[in-house]
Symmetry: C2
Subunit: 534 residues, 2 copies
């Protein structure tokens, strides 16, 4: 018992995960109000009684005080206590609980299918055929789907997606990725420099691992603030040094080279500065960088000998008038020497874009200008995990090598793709307009990606309430919003924000009807919240 109570007390107030079934019946909002010793004790009893694994023996090899310290300190806000509470609310509603709303809206995570987006037929047909090749005999499947599936199977060991692929991925898929990049950038690409992975996340984490340093200063990795918390979490887990540079909210979340210089100068003595992460289009901020902005970043990276890690997973999600996606590879190559020789890792994924195939876990990294000896070590490192999912790799193939004009699947594919992108664009506009009209909220245009990152002007009274509960003010706000409206968003503190400012990230993924519903609920909540706290 002794071991559990301090952990609980700590975790409740530190936004650390709690197992869902353990919280059943206890309201998170109750827990957030400094739970009494009696309550904690009752929770602990339940915790201990729940499962066989929870009996406390005489000793624990793995206990909080001996656990990997970096695991303890890492945080990943996109799946934090708000989400756990949201799942709980869903279960309560399903059991007939009376709430002022009928459903929970999970606007916390870029998970398009979970929010009702339909899969692209072509992708799923190819997947079905490579999973169950008997379908190749089936008259219902379009001929180009079958050809596509046969090509993938022909590049699999024993002609089966059940065989391991090379650790870098199925050869033909990597070749198609290279062609896709060449076509996108007008710059040569070599399939040998491309490694497929289980989502972009796996590649990003693998690349960050290369910078781990056992002795001396930690490697400094520059990341945007606000950022996608995969970066802060992995940097913390790997014991690297996080060096934040602020995006300029007043300038549409643009990237100011002076701010890069300030950030670098402040950290260069503490860390061995190694790399800069750019997320373009931005997550959580939704900006799309201009070519000129990218050129300035590349010059900065060259000036300070930094490797560039370009998170370009939202490259298909461009909505802003006059905005276009420029890959870092294209821009640095076109700048010529010395910039064309900068080390770059560029990441892409099947989870976003128009396909939204998050659960399939397909992604890749392209290495540019990386030392061959280092690349050999990288490939050795990933080989211990054998390979990423071959079916995820098949989805990558469909994304980089879609139906061509004249193919039987082309028209349907194009229609489905365009419909998704058109609808996302409409919702991007809707979100911007709606939040701009809500008192106390301001928001930049959503030029790209799948998120808005609105700023909330929190009344002093609300800030004080939050502090009295030991909560971050934006967490307090988000939890109130969830409890009262069923809308699940992520507080800005999970992504980073300038001190004294408060934000939240919301996706633009709820389908149009639900989106309108969400914005109406939000507006009502905000009106009441301001009234209550003024």
């Amino acid at each position: 018992m002794k071991e559990v109570v301090p952990f609980l007390t700590k975790s409740v107030f530190k936004n650390i995960y709690l197992p869902i079934n353990f919280l059943n019946g206890f309201s998170v909002s109750t827990l957030m109000k400094k739970p009494s010793t009696q309550l904690l004790s009752s929770i602990s009893r339940r915790f201990l009684a729940t499962t066989t694994s929870l009996k406390m023996p005489g000793y624990k090899v793995l206990a909080l005080d001996t656990l990997n310290p970096n695991v303890k300190t890492m945080e990943y806000a996109v799946r934090g206590p708000l989400v756990i509470r949201a799942v709980e609310l869903e279960k309560e509603l399903a059991q007939g609980a009376q709430k002022p709303y009928k459903n929970v809206i999970k606007a916390n995570i870029g998970d398009a299918h979970a929010m009702g987006q339909k899969p692209i037929t072509f992708i799923r047909q190819v997947l079905a055929c490579v999973a169950y090749p008997e379908l190749l005999q089936n008259g219902d499947m379009p001929s180009d789907v079958k050809e596509h599936a046969k090509a993938i199977l022909g590049s699999c060991g024993g002609g089966s997606t059940g065989a391991y692929s090379q650790s870098t991925g199925i050869e033909i898929v990597r070749q198609h990725v290279a062609k896709f990049i060449e076509h996108r950038d007008g710059v040569p690409a070599d399939s040998e420099n491309i490694c497929l992975s289980g989502g972009a996340s796996e590649s990003i984490r693998n690349v960050l691992k290369l910078f781990i340093n056992r002795d001396g200063k930690k490697a400094g990795i520059m990341i945007p603030i606000p950022q996608y918390p995969l970066y802060s979490a992995s940097i913390e887990e790997f014991n690297l040094g996080q060096v934040g540079y602020y995006l300029d909210e007043d300038n549409n979340w643009g990237l100011d080279p002076d701010e890069l210089r300030r950030s670098y100068a402040e950290s260069k003595d503490k860390y061995e500065m190694k790399a800069i992460v750019i997320i373009n289009p931005g997550n959580p901020t939704g900006q799309v960088l201009s070519k000129e902005n990218i050129e300035k970043i590349i010059k900065f990276a060259h000036e300070h000998k930094l490797m560039i890690l370009a998170d370009e997973v939202y490259q298909d999600n461009i909505y802003g008038e006059g905005c276009a996606f420029y890959s870092f590879k294209k821009v640095l190559t076109n700048m010529g020497e010395p910039y064309s020789k900068i080390e770059l890792a560029s990441f892409h994924s099947v989870s976003k874009g128009y396909m939204g195939e998050c659960g399939m876990r397909g992604g890749y990294v392209e290495f540019v200008n990386v030392d061959p000896a280092v690349y050999v070590q990288y490939k050795k490192m990933i080989s211990a995990k054998l390979c990423s999912t071959t079916l995820g790799q098949a989805v990558i193939d469909c994304v980089v090598n879609p139906p061509k004009e004249g193919d039987p699947s082309y028209d349907q594919w194009l229609t489905e793709k365009n419909e998704v992108l058109k609808s996302l664009k409409e919702r991007a506009t809707l979100v911007k307009e709606a939040y701009s009209n809500i008192e106390g909220i301001s928001v930049n245009p959503v030029q790209g990606a799948m998120y808005a990152f609105p700023k909330i002007e929190l009344p002093q009274k609300a800030i004080e309430k939050a502090k009295s509960l030991g909560q971050a003010p934006d967490f307090f706000y988000a939890m109130r919003l969830l409890e009262e409206t069923g809308i699940c968003i992520v507080p800005g503190s999970g992504f980073g924000q300038r001190d004294g400012t408060y934000h939240f990230r919301t996706t633009i993924l709820p389908q149009p009807e639900l989106m309108k519903d969400m914005l109406e609920r939000f507006e009502r909540f905000q009106t009441n919240f301001l009234k209550e706290n003024s």
Copy 2:
């Protein structure tokens, strides 16, 4: 250029990976003979010319001397230079090169489908349906397949496998895993203690990460020698302390508690001893532990306060007369207190067994008796990677929840399963008998798993030849075998072996005809090899 040559020189002799396309046209066997400066220089030129990424700029952020030191020192022999050479030989044969053999036999990796094993129809039908739910309208799919697929889809966000699952996995799949374990062991299991992952490898690595310690002594992890190199590679990558205990070759690769005590005593001052890894059935050694042997190991773990990591991925692969699989969970639970309270992580996978679905990347870990606070941290840690592939999770579901008697798919499923297991059993016997009859080779029975680990008596002359080339003698032997017969095996040095002994790991996976062919080639080679080196 300067950067490349020393790396090459080093890597050629240290079994480090070389990129395949870079070696094209150079024979590995030539390279193995201390390449001349001229040859290295010619290789380096080609290396530099091959791709755009290989131009050397004025500086490299990531270079061998600044790279994560643990990445440099880790090794993973199952996918080493022999495999690269095997792929090269396949390409040469395809281009019409004249060799004394017509095909390369990859007996290096437990990759059943790559060696011609056919997928289980039920698994692939369910996969096709969850990937492309329009097939649920299809009259061709058996009704139980459809029910199975619907249940999985019903537990996915938005009813789509394209949605992220919970980080621990799709809820219904975890429930089915728990039921499967309960049925197997006759001991309660709770789905909340089960985390699905991309193959067992991912779970194993995640659990090992918990032991990372920044200050003080490294955590000591006991592993068998010989072992599956995922363990040695991950322990090295995570900067943990590898503590080997020898399996007893003279006693059918059994596990002698006295040897555990010796190993522990020798390392307990150097490391903070934390955990013991058991692979049962054994990889690469093929033994199946008896219940009594497992009890002794559990007592040892309790005596020394070690967590048990039980790699049980071959639990369906039991061939030996009188052998049976006992899970560590079942045995320790039935032993009662205090043993029933030992911390345990047990791993399982869809890559082995009768299904051999390696490319699907499905696996899980069950935690038993783990501190709830630690488990919360574990779940937080894995959440940053979002989730494992939902389609891989669907395969797990099929494995733990197969058709029941009376279901439309039952007969075919049972027939296919039994045929695979019967054939594997026959090949296990064949391999034992065949190698036992080859001069200079001895081998234990293959009681389980998918491998034999025969001992080779290498003539002194061969050992000296190898040493003169700067090669491990068993590596020299394996490379000669590959070049002369097309058979790809892994030298024992990749798994660990007692000093002065030489072994290799071969799978029992080539289909019966190919297996006979392989054994004949092997015998001819060995006869010649002994003649040449006597």
